[in-house]
Symmetry: none
Subunit: 450 residues, 2 copies
């Protein structure tokens, strides 16, 4: 197959579709319209922006002219993370730039480039008149900011999404270069803010230091009460539903090719790996829940010195969840633990922003197996089944609401710098991904709808 | 004595001598010139503005015609804090306005009004030909913005300030209305930043959570390692030089009239007072060192959600010091403790911004005792000796550089709104302050220089 022209990808990457920042709503919409145009170009019908006040548009398109054949849902997201810190980017985040075999831009790997793999594969088969399956695209613009619109839509319009056989998702990565990978498990998430209040107003540390509660120091105490230096989450009830990986999974993970020193030194640039003692790395990353502090805000942080005892402080935090932790129950545990951890003179409160349940897919599923064969074929190596430590809420949503298995074909690479400066995509994988998805779809000729 | 005319005070208060804002440098200079003129009017000689590029002027004046008598240094500052938030002022900050028995204006209590008490008292005695001591005035214009000029001058011109017996400072407050107060102790300070680094760059919590060091969570651990929920500073060696208050001080502090509930509820608005268990409030505020977090910066704190594992985090912190903690030695203890508290995978570093040593004055010092007698006489109540939890760097400077005891006569009140909107001065205290300082100076007739 001829290599794919990069024009559409460049055009998509130039739009700063940052869904979490309200001032970029116009760009998000512009990006949705470009996706709609690409879907039309791929032969899709009924293409439309699904709109709802206060939400970013979903983009829908379908092609249903393969009677008797399976119907697949193609999912991806066109929104991206904020690019800051800007000064750490080598080239500007929204000016896609090729250096070596990589294309650098915010969103190129998460998820615009991988989404385009799906669109281009379908486009090629449609253009050739050989698309062997029915197709529905549902592309969202809120994956990086909670995804409420997709959730609401899936729940409100079961008819439009009825009769599906599997979901195909390109939003994961290969375990290693040249190692085709299908992800069969994802962590869930509980994301929110911890707010701490002390006195009515900021106070002068010379006058009140020794008697006044300090909201920032109290916040530090709450954060270390939730998780200490041993990296063990100390919330009562939090681990009750955690299901350990199977012996088979542990054995397979142990055989994955992996250079832990290179991971620590080259990829992360950390002096030591951290985590719960005695638990192997992949189990910590994929099958254990975590607690992370994403940001802290409070007091005076300008140039110079101000001797304020802050009355208020806030931390953005998240918990990653693993099967079978249920977000609702976990949120209750968190609320109680945060409230209880506030030291004397302060009040602490957990304010929920969003949740996603953890999810898992049976690697013996026939669509998963067919995708694995196509990837093995194109990459010339046996496809491995891994999990991901991240959360792709749509996978849990489709599984819970539509009983739909998700086939997560990974074409990103571990050093793509997702959510970080200098996000990039290895361009040979973009081309091979299109070939692999095309072959996978072609291999479904003999599949029947359920 | 006839009441003092308020004309000079009003004129001083109309000049917005905001030292920390460069655009007010002209006003600061204008104010210095008015101080010089007032000093000349009080009979001072050799009056001059001491200038230095990039600094606000010091104002100097002297009268040295009492051979054999003591020589006193009078200190005050003519610069003021910025007045914002402006919309919270009832009358404009630089239009002095009398309401009831208070005069409202920025700087009226801190420190123009109290400084004028000293000038007017000397003026009266000089006019009457009865000034019994030698006098040097050294008035600064940078007290609210670092005070470097004064420090530099005192160190560079020891000869001009030689032969002094005591410093007289009016920049503190009465413990309560009608309770004459002399401050005999101030806490010192070590102010700086704690910087924590983890991985080379920010990482995605879905991908690396469970293996990557989190700089913000590490910072929380460092802050709680320095001081835990028991409010005890855990730095090795930190308390070695702490000298407890004398039994006499403790007993006197226990007799101070004080409504702890009103302090907690009305003044601070806190649910509980905090601090080291078993140590009385005034001892915690005046005689115990503290650790406060003034600000924390790190990670993502915008609207919405970003699942970043921050690579860097920073806290602005200070330690208040008490006699006989020596800032240099304390800084070393802090540096080591911060470095040692960094959890695995992170590095933590303390970066010093500035220090001031603690200072104390022996309440049995004859000048302090003479001032106390004069204040008792004028206010009709026994003068109390308190300390302050804040830092007045000039007191430590004069003590360390010139071995000079400071007599801190307090005429401000706790609700004068220093550094806040509606700063005010209780006018009866302005008049009584002038009488008290006059009587104090008259009582020194029998004192000899050292």
């Amino acid at each position: 197959m001829p290599p794919q022209d990069l024009g559409p990808l460049f055009a998509l990457l130039r739009i700063p579709s940052i869904s979490t920042l309200p001032e970029y709503a116009g760009s998000v919409r512009e990006c949705a319209e470009m996706i709609a145009s690409l879907l039309r170009g791929a032969g899709m019908e009924q293409v439309e922006l699904l709109e709802r006040p206060g939400r970013h548009p979903l983009v829908y398109g379908e092609w249903l002219h393969a009677p008797g054949a399976p119907t697949l849902l193609f999912y991806g997201h066109y929104d991206v993370q904020p690019p800051d810190p800007l000064d750490e980017w080598t080239s500007p985040p929204f000016e896609p730039t090729i250096r070596g075999e990589h294309l650098y831009a915010r969103g190129v790997a998460d998820d615009k480039g991988l989404l385009l793999i799906l669109i281009h594969a379908v486009e090629r088969l449609h253009a050739a008149g050989t698309l062997p399956v029915n197709v529905k695209f549902l592309i969202e613009g809120e994956e990086e900011s909670g995804g409420e619109h997709l959730t609401e839509y899936v729940r409100a319009h079961p008819a439009r999404l009825a009769g599906l056989d599997a979901a195909i998702i390109c939003d994961t990565e290969m375990f290693a270069p040249e190692l085709p990978t299908i992800c069969v498990g994802l962590r869930g998430i509980v994301y929110g803010e911890i707010h701490v209040e002390g006195a009515r107003q900021d106070l002068h540390s010379g006058v009140y230091g020794g008697a006044a509660p300090n909201a920032l120091h109290a916040l530090a105490q709450v954060l270390t009460a939730i998780k200490g230096g041993d990296e063990i989450i100390r919330i009562p009830g939090f681990h009750d539903a955690v299901k350990p990986p199977t012996a088979e999974e542990r054995e397979a993970w142990g055989r994955l090719p992996f250079d832990e020193e290179a991971y620590r030194e080259t990829e992360m640039g950390a002096s030591h790996l951290v985590g719960e003692a005695g638990i192997p790395l992949f189990e910590r990353l994929w099958a254990r829940p975590t607690f992370e502090v994403h940001g802290v805000h409070g007091g005076f942080t300008g140039t110079g010195a101000k001797t304020v005892i802050p009355a208020r402080a806030m931390a953005k935090v998240s918990f990653r969840l693993v099967p079978d932790q249920e977000p609702g129950a976990i949120v209750e545990c968190i609320r109680q633990a945060v409230t209880a951890a506030a030291p004397s003179g302060t009040r602490a409160e957990f304010r929920l922003q969003h949740t996603a349940p953890p999810s898992s897919v049976d690697s013996r599923n026939p669509y998963v197996q067919a995708a694995a064969r196509a990837m093995t074929d194109v990459f010339g190596a046996e496809t491995v089944f891994t999990r991901s430590g991240g959360s792709i809420p749509v996978v849990a949503l489709l599984n819970h609401e539509l009983q739909l298995p998700s086939v997560m074909m990974g074409f990103g690479l571990p050093d793509d710098n997702l959510h970080a400066p200098n996000e990039r995509l290895y361009l040979p994988n973009f081309q091979r991904g299109i070939v692999a998805v095309t072959k996978f779809l072609e291999s479904l000729k003999s599949f029947k709808n359920k």
